[in-house]
């Protein structure tokens, strides 16, 4: 719970493997729900996204991530632990920028809590993204409300 949320650059396979490895052997957990968000090479008109540059209000991100964890742990008392990692800086298309892991005694709780946490992350983490296109032009992108 004391791990930092913001990671400089992409979230690597090694970080993900290390979070998952920490759960093995936990004989109280029935399920782990994991979400990995990845940068897509979206095409906008004639341009293709090469990378996203994330900026963040660091202190508030850590405060809000702590609130999300607290709310999830109090709403789902079967949830045992929760990790949130979010990239800051440049993440190339095909690389991961978000990792959420929720462990619970029972599977449905893990799944529901993870799904809810992702919505809370989108709604309340002060993070911004600038799309960097293959021609090096850029554009700010907002989350859709859907």
């Amino acid at each position: 719970m004391s791990q930092k949320t913001l990671i400089n650059g992409p979230i690597t396979q090694e970080m993900i493997s290390s979070c998952l490895a920490a759960l093995a052997g936990n004989t109280d957990s029935g399920g782990h729900s994991v979400f990995i968000g990845q940068v897509r090479a979206d095409v906008k008109g004639a341009k293709r996204v090469k990378a996203i540059e994330y900026s963040a209000y660091e202190n508030m991100v850590e405060a809000e991530a702590g609130k999300i964890k607290g709310l999830i742990l109090s709403e789902y008392n079967d949830v045992q632990s929760m990790d949130i990692l979010h990239s800051r800086g440049v993440v190339m298309a095909g690389e991961a920028s978000l990792f959420v892991l929720v462990s619970a005694g029972h599977r449905r709780h893990a799944i529901d809590a993870c799904s809810k946490a992702i919505e809370m992350i989108k709604a309340s983490l002060p993070v911004w993204k600038k799309e960097i296109f293959e021609d090096s032009s850029t554009g700010w992108k907002e989350n859709s409300l859907a």
């Binding site: 992350i121 989108k122 002060p126 700010w140 989350n143």
Partner: protein
């Protein structure tokens, strides 16, 4: 009082600065006016304001050393 003002996302781009330090601030209204004078272009953007990491819904009473953030709609996750 002294107030640190931070700009994020597109606002940091249009203001061409990530932060600005204001001295002799008398109130939140005074601060907003000075920011509006310094960076008139931000009026064209949607943003929310946080004081010391908390979003505000109404004008706060500031105290010396507060940190104010001008934040466009979030795009994390």
């Amino acid at each position: 009082m002294e107030i640190q003002v931070l700009f994020f996302g597109v606002l940091a781009e249009v203001t061409q600065t990530a932060f600005k330090h204001y001295k002799g601030v008398t109130s939140f209204a005074d601060l907003k006016m000075r920011i509006g004078d310094d960076f008139p272009e931000i009026a064209h953007y949607n943003f929310r304001i946080a004081v010391n990491n908390e979003l505000i819904n109404e004008d706060p009473v500031l105290k010396n050393g507060d940190e104010i953030a001008y934040m466009p709609p979030f795009a994390g996750g």
